[in-house]
Structure formats: C-alpha cells, structure tokens
C-alpha cells in the first residue's frame, strides 16, 4: 500500500541515443539493442487514436485494437492466445487519444515467429462476428464496472464537461450506447483508414536483431491498407465562464474534486516555464504548494496534484484532490484561492529554485529504462515534436527565469473560467460546493453518475 502519491507521470525527456535507421521509403524504425536479458520488445505505433473515432462511434479505435487480437485470416482467437502463451509472449493493444500502440514482448528466441504473427494480426484481421459480440458484452460490462471506481469516473466526467463535445472529451473506451452500436462493417472501414503506411512507426528494443526488424517493418508497411483519410482535429473551444457540476453518486463519504482549464501544446514557447510553474504548484512532489497546503498542513486529502495533459491540440491543465465529504467545501474554496493566488503572484524565488534544480537533476531518469526511451520517442513522433525534444529538455529548463515562469502563469491561468467537477452525494454537498466555488446553488449542474 503506497502511502505517498507522486502524482501524474509528467512526460520525461530523453537523452539516450536511439539509432534512427534511415529508410528510402521513409519507414520510421527505431531500434535499441540490449542483449543482457533474453527479452525482445516490439512496438508498432499508429498515429490516430481515440480522437479519430467517427461521430457516434466513440470507443471504436479501442475496440478495434482489441479485435486485432481476436482473429486473423489464418488464426482464430483461441489459436492466437495459445501461440502467445506457448511462446511466453505478451501482446496487447493500447489506445490513447492521439495514437494506438501494439505492444509486444517475447523471449527473444521466439521473436521471428512473434513478428510474423503480429504482421498477420495487424494486416489481416478477420473481425469474426462472434468475437465482436463477445467483446461488445465485455466492453459494456467493463464500462459498467468502471462506475464503481470513483477516481476513474470523476476524471471521465470532468473531461466531458471541460471539452464540451470535442473529441478530447470522449472516453477512449467509448460510451455504453455507442459501443453497443459498433458493427463489423464499422471496424473494416476504420481499420482501412487507420492503418496507413505513413502513420505507422516501429520501435524495437532489448535482445532484437536489427535486420530481422527492418525486414519485418518493410513487409508490414507495404501491406498496410491505408484507404481513406482520418478527420482532422480542431482545437477545443475556449471557455467563457466558470462552470460547476456535481456528479451525483449516493452514499459517498469522500468526494473527488477536479478543477481545470484548457492546456497548451508541448511545442508552445511557454511550455518550459509552465512546466516549472506547475512543478512548484502541484506537479506531484511533496514539497509542492498543493501538497503542503492540502495534505501536510490540513490533512484534507491523501493526494493533491496538478498536471497537464498534452495532445496535437491544447488539452488540459487540471488539479485533483479527494477530501472527506465534510472537508469538501473548505478544500474546494482553498484550492480555488490558491489558483487565483498563483496567477496573481506566481511562485516564490525559493519554489522556482527548487523546481528548477529538482527537474534538472532528475534529468538522468528521463532515459534510464528502455520503456521510457520508447515512450519518449512515441510522444515525439506522434505529437509532431522535434526529434531532440526530450534530449534538449533540461537545456531549455536551464534557460528559464523566475520572471518568465510568473509571466507565463499570469497569461495562462484563467481562474474566472475554470471548469469544476465534483463527484459526491449531491444533496449533502450542494450548498457547500456552491459556496466554495463562489456560484449560486441553482447554477450547479447535477449529473447522475450513471449517465452515459
């Protein structure tokens, strides 16, 4: 049982040299060899994640990802499962907002067979009707089960409230109603659009053979269907005023508070300054202002943190804490005052020094494991960042001044337009929340927690 929460994983920069193999066909293949352990890792990344879900089909990219594992032209689901287990392999598909990743790991002696199978699953999925039916039922049940996880539910409701119909507000796993509507024809169409050679990136690490991976990546790229284009992603609409909702769930003794606003791009000129400003305010460390004020001084919440989420368009900056119901109004009011104070006066010289020193000294952890190196590369490629974005990260932080941080915070933060979402038992917290948020009880939006 972890007693301390270190907050959200903030994207960490990369220093490690990854060997980019130049390919005449513009194939994107990165390989990092390390044969100390007999394990091989393969990642196939497709740009175009949940935000590419067509209107009315939220969750289809995630659904399609899992369906890749459930039947191909040559193998049934049972056969695929058995092969993977016999090889001691792990293979899964992870869907995020901007991209989909097929992640594989296998004992290296089985790598050639493993690669052949991945190619077949990705290029020639059969989407059997019986498996679609089964997965639909599993997925819907999973969404229902998620309703008993207050933190996950709260984050989902906050995103929907903040993004007001923009794809960033749609849950990656979709809504119950829309997942229930997914048909085989939808999957075939989405697969053909999604798996386009120009959107595929390959990353291999561990005990891998370079020539084997190159040959595999070439073969797979040539066969990728690539029919049609994905819709472009517009920026989310800005928010004109403060809005507050309560996600009403019975019998809560604790609330989940989410407070936030639209974020910025990682390529934004103020990114480094705001990175440090956020680190000092609530970026997951115990010395952060939020942690000190909410947990250490008052014991209100086990965790209190702030974090950015990034994408191809500005996503979000949000604060999360989970006080006892009795402390909800006070904790909310105090958090809002802290955000206002942060905008007005910024961070102190000492907070700036500590945040900067800590961030620069911890640069060694940017690339200390193959998993992080792969992750950094994926972020650079899928979010359109420079190839050296992470390797030059600490150099950029080094140049940031205290006044630049505070100026950036002043321009970025919009306390008057914050979106506030609180999961709790509405009839017991309604007046306190209204008071804490500085709005009238009548203006609060009450959302049933089971609403799709």
């Amino acid at each position: 049982m972890f007693s301390k929460i270190r907050g959200y994983l903030f994207f960490v920069p990369l220093v490690f040299q990854i060997l980019l193999c130049p390919q005449a066909s513009a194939l994107e293949l990165d390989i990092e060899q390390d044969s100390r352990l007999p394990l091989a890792y393969v990642n196939l990344v497709v740009t175009g994640g949940a935000v590419s879900d067509p209107v009315g089909k939220s969750g289809i990219t995630s659904f399609l990802g899992e369906m890749l594992m459930r039947g191909s032209r040559k193998h049934s689901k049972d056969q695929i499962d058995l092969l993977l287990d016999q090889w001691g392999a792990q293979l899964g598909v992870e869907t995020r907002a901007e991209y989909l990743i097929v992640r594989g790991a296998v004992l290296s002696k089985k790598l050639p067979d493993f690669l052949t199978l991945i190619e077949e699953l990705v290029i020639e999925p059969s989407f059997p009707e019986i498996e679609i039916k089964k997965l639909r039922s599993e997925a819907v049940s999973g969404l229902l089960a998620e309703q008993s996880n207050d933190h996950a539910l709260s984050a989902k409701k906050f995103a929907r409230f903040l993004f007001q119909g923009h794809p960033y507000g749609n849950p990656i796993s979709g809504s119950i109603r829309e997942v229930e509507s997914i048909q085989r024809s939808d999957l075939l169409k989405h697969h053909a659009r999604l798996f386009h050679p120009k959107r595929i990136l390959f990353l291999g690490s561990g005990d891998v053979s370079r020539s084997l991976l190159e040959s595999w990546a070439h073969s797979l790229s040539k066969k990728a269907p690539g029919k049609g284009e994905l819709d472009g992603l517009n920026p989310p609409a800005s928010l004109p005023s403060r809005r507050v909702q309560i996600v009403d769930k019975p019998d809560r003794t604790q609330t989940q508070i989410e407070v936030g606003q639209l974020g910025l791009l990682m390529s934004d000129q103020d990114y480094s300054a705001l990175y440090l400003g956020n680190a000092a305010f609530g970026g997951g460390s115990f010395t952060s202002r939020l942690m000190q004020e909410i947990r250490v001084k008052r014991g209100w919440s086990y965790g209190a943190s702030s974090a950015f989420r990034f994408g191809l368009q500005p996503r979000s900056w949000q604060v999360h804490l989970f006080p006892a119901e009795k402390d909800t109004a006070s904790a909310l009011a105090h958090t809002l005052r802290m955000i206002e104070e942060l905008r007005q006066n910024g961070i102190t010289v000492e907070e700036f020094r500590l945040a900067k020193q800590s961030s620069i000294n911890s640069a060694a952890f940017i690339n200390d494991t193959p998993k992080k190196r792969v992750e950094n590369r994926i972020i650079e490629k899928t979010l359109g960042l420079e190839n050296d974005f992470f390797s030059t990260f600490s150099d950029r932080l080094e140049k940031v001044t205290h006044s630049e941080v505070n100026q950036a915070l002043k321009e970025f933060l919009k306390p008057e337009n914050l979106t506030i979402s609180i999961l709790g038992t509405a009839d017991r917290i309604r007046s306190g929340v209204a008071q804490g948020a500085g709005v009238t009880p009548e203006s609060l939006k009450i959302v049933p927690y089971q609403e799709d």
Binding site: M1, S3, R36, L39, S285, N361, S362
Partner: protein, 455 residues
C-alpha cells in the same frame, strides 16, 4: 480486462537451507559474498556487525541507482485495537528527525533529483524506495540512516497524518467496492491470525491511535538488525559498503521484538458472506488456505495459479470470459510469512450472476483434480514463468525489489533464483495434488458482492 500477477516479487519464495546449484563465492568476513541472480547479474552481500544487511548490484547502463530499505515489519505484527499502525507509522517516517526538521527529507531528495520517492506497507514488511542520480549516493545513505534512529514523532504532525490515512482509507476501502471485498475475504478466511485485518487498519482503531503508539512502534521495530538495504545501479559496491558502514555502523541493534501472532486454526467448514454495494456488475472472491512461503508446496501452487489465470489462454479466461460470464477473472497464490490464501477474483458481465461464476470455478477445480494438466499447458505456464522472471529484473528498481524481497522476507536472496529453478521443476502431477490437497470445499471462503437496491 484481466489481472495477472507476477510470481516473483509480489509472491515469495521458499526458505532454502541449501545453496546447491547456485554460484556463490564465499569470501572472508570483511568482504562480500558474491551471488549470481541471473545471467550477467551479480549481487554482493555485506553483513554489518549490528545486524544490518546490505546487498548491492552494480550496473552502469544508466547514471542512476535505486535505493530500497526493507524493514521486517508489517500489519502482521500489529495487535487487535491497533490495526493500521504499521502503515500509519510508515507515513510518519517522512516527518522530521532531530537533525532534519519536517519537510527537509523530501526537500533534500527532490532537490537532488530523486525519482519515485515512496514507501509501501504489506502484511509482512515495510519498504522505502528511492531512485537517485549516481552522484547522490551519500545523501540518501545519510538521510535513511538518520531516520532509522532519530525520528521525532510529535503529537501535532501525528494527528494530521492520521487524518491523511483516514482519508486514504476512504479512498481505498470505504468508497471502493474492490477494496471492501478484499477486506471482507481476508476477514472471512482468517479468524484468528493478524492477516484478517486490512493493512490500512480499521477506522475505529485509527481514530484512537496516538503519537505514543507510533513512538513505541518505532522503538520496537525500526533498527538495523530488522532491515535490509538494497542498492542497484551505477555504484561501486565497496564504496556503498564503506558509506553504509560509516552512517549506519554506529546504530545499535534492538532486542528481538517479541511479537504475538495468533496461529490460524484449521478451517473445517466453508464460509460465505454476501455484500450489497454500489455496483453495476456483480463481483466474487473465493479463498482457500494455503501454507506459508517456506512450504515445499508453494512452487506447485504458483504454477497452479499460472495454469488457472496466466496468459490469454488460461483456464479461467476460457471458462469465464470467453463464455460471456465474466469480464475479468484471476487466481492468485498469496504466499506470505505465515500460511495465507489462494484467491480467485471475478468481475461479472452485465446481467450475469456471481453464483454462476462460482459454479464454473468449482467445476474447473474438479476437472483439474481429476484430469490434471496436459503437458502442453504445463509448457505454456513454464514459458510465462520464465518471461515473468526475466521481466522482473530489467530496471534498477525491479532488481532491487526482487533481491530485497528474497533477502528480507526469506533470509537469503539466493532463494530468488532457487525458487525459479524449483518452479521449472514442478510436474503436472504435483499441480493436480495441490488442487486436491488445498482447494477443497470444506476450506472455502466466499464473498459475493451484489448491487445495492436503489433508494
């Protein structure tokens, strides 16, 4: 949609008295034992005179290291009325000492660029973890040595931290059906032993706990002879030893703590409990008593777990998920210092009943007892075990966790690789015998969680 546990690190190996088959270079008393953990991974063990044990694995692939301190105390060592004290005390370890006032520990580590500074408490042990850039070795040694003996537990900071833990409890248990079900299955399967209460403790006990309780706990359980330090990464082992000896060497060992742990009587009949919770789909947990980590039966029980729920083609996956009954199912042999439980956990699909899942599990166990495990299925489980083993040795912190676990909880890190060898030697017949011996109706405890009626 399914959970898979690693056999290594989370679960525990057996206490071996023999080191046969392992490569060990025994040295003079002032130099370390060199022990092979896996191909290309060697650990050096340095015992100190005050009982502290230090294990170092050198690896310069990244200019960082992991530092872990394993204390041999967990919720198992608590007494009724004081449940949750081990975990609450773990929180207090981040408060001030005589030399470093409250907040300084965190501030110094953060300034140094520490990553993943944290701690966790289990039934059997409490572990403090950090990762740091390689230049900061002496800093962490100095800070950890300091808080091993000089912690100051004052009433005000204790009261605030108790509030934090009560809030953590709301998060993990009161408002979390999975936490509640887990608490209930342990409470049902154990009637006397301290594993029956949750690591985080009961609310009524936490609310009465005082700073004096924490001070007493500290004196009793935190001392060099009850700790193992593991350092893995870009360090020189002899240099680590020299610094550890300098900063910890003067700490005096404590008297061995007299801990009264009630043994769990044999379960003679099945037990059952039904909960009504805020759920949209039903949930089920089943537990059977199994022996402690020292038992010769543990490797076969671990392979049984792998056969039942490891990988995508496991028996539970096929019998429960593929058939549309459950959205997720797992089996888990929770090996511990004292006899523990073999757990089944199931999340049902929409409209499906927990009772159906229970029937399916019982049928699968019956089939396993009668028909055993075909060789192909055993091979599959062995491959998964092998992947698990190497996968748990990849990063500095994973290696530290593996080594720390075996050294602290079984007395010898050699038991880690040895346990891997014993897993690979398990036969199909041994697995069948485990099902027959332990997964019996009279030893079963069942918790069913149903949807609470809407008001």
């Amino acid at each position: 949609m399914k959970t898979q546990y690693s056999l290594f690190v989370i679960t525990v190996g057996i206490l071996a008295t023999s080191c046969s088959g392992l490569s060990i270079r025994q040295n003079r008393s002032d130099t370390p034992q060199v022990l092979k953990v896996a191909q290309g991974i060697e650990a050096k063990r340095y015992p100190l005179k005050n009982g502290l044990r230090l294990v170092v694995i050198e690896d310069s692939s990244s200019p960082t290291f992991a530092y872990q301190t394993w204390y041999d105390v967990g919720s198992r060592d608590e007494q009724p009325g004081k449940t949750g004290l081990a975990h609450l005390f773990e929180h207090m370890m981040f408060k001030g000492t005589r030399d470093f006032p409250e907040g300084e520990f965190d501030r110094k580590l953060e300034e140094a660029g520490a990553e993943g500074e944290n701690a966790y408490t289990t039934h059997d042990h409490t572990t403090y973890v950090q990762q740091l850039p390689k230049e900061r070795l002496e800093l962490i040694i100095r800070l950890e040595a300091d808080r091993m003996k000089n912690l100051v537990v004052n009433d005000a900071s204790f009261a605030t931290e108790r509030e934090v833990v009560q809030n953590e409890r709301r998060f993990r248990n009161e408002n979390n059906p999975d936490g509640l079900i887990y608490q209930e299955i342990y409470g049902l399967a154990f009637q006397k032993h301290s594993y029956r209460w949750p690591v985080i403790g009961y609310e009524e006990d936490l609310s009465k706990m005082t700073a004096a309780d924490a001070r007493e706990f500290y004196q009793k359980h935190y001392s060099p002879n009850r700790a193992v330090i593991v350092v893995t990464g870009d360090v020189d082992a002899d240099e680590v030893y020299r610094l550890v000896a300098r900063h910890y060497g003067d700490l005096t060992p404590s008297q061995s703590a007299s801990i009264l742990v009630s043994p769990e009587p044999e379960q003679l009949s099945s037990r059952r409990k039904t909960l009504r919770l805020d759920l949209q789909v039903e949930k089920l947990m089943i537990a059977y008593p199994i022996p402690s980590q020292n038992s010769e039966d543990m490797p076969a029980l671990d392979i049984l777990q792998m056969v039942l729920s490891g990988g995508r083609s496991s028996r539970l996956q096929k019998a429960l998920v593929e058939t549309g009954i459950a959205s997720g199912a797992y089996a888990y042999a929770a090996s511990s210092k004292d006899p523990s439980i073999f757990l089944f956990g199931v999340t049902l699909q929409k409209g499906q009943k927990a009772l159906s899942a229970e029937r399916v599990i019982l049928r699968e166990l019956e089939r396993l007892s009668q028909e055993g495990v075909p060789s192909q299925e055993l091979d599959r489980a062995m491959n998964l075990v092998e992947f698990d083993y190497f996968g748990g040795l990849e990063s500095n912190s994973e290696r530290a966790r593996f080594v720390g676990h075996y050294e602290s909880q079984t007395g010898r890190l050699e038991n880690g690789p040895l346990y891997f060898e014993r897993l690979k030697a398990v036969t199909a017949e041994q697995i069948r015998q485990m099902a027959l011996k332990y997964l019996k109706e009279s030893r079963r405890s069942v918790v069913v969680a149903l949807k609470k009626a809407q008001k």
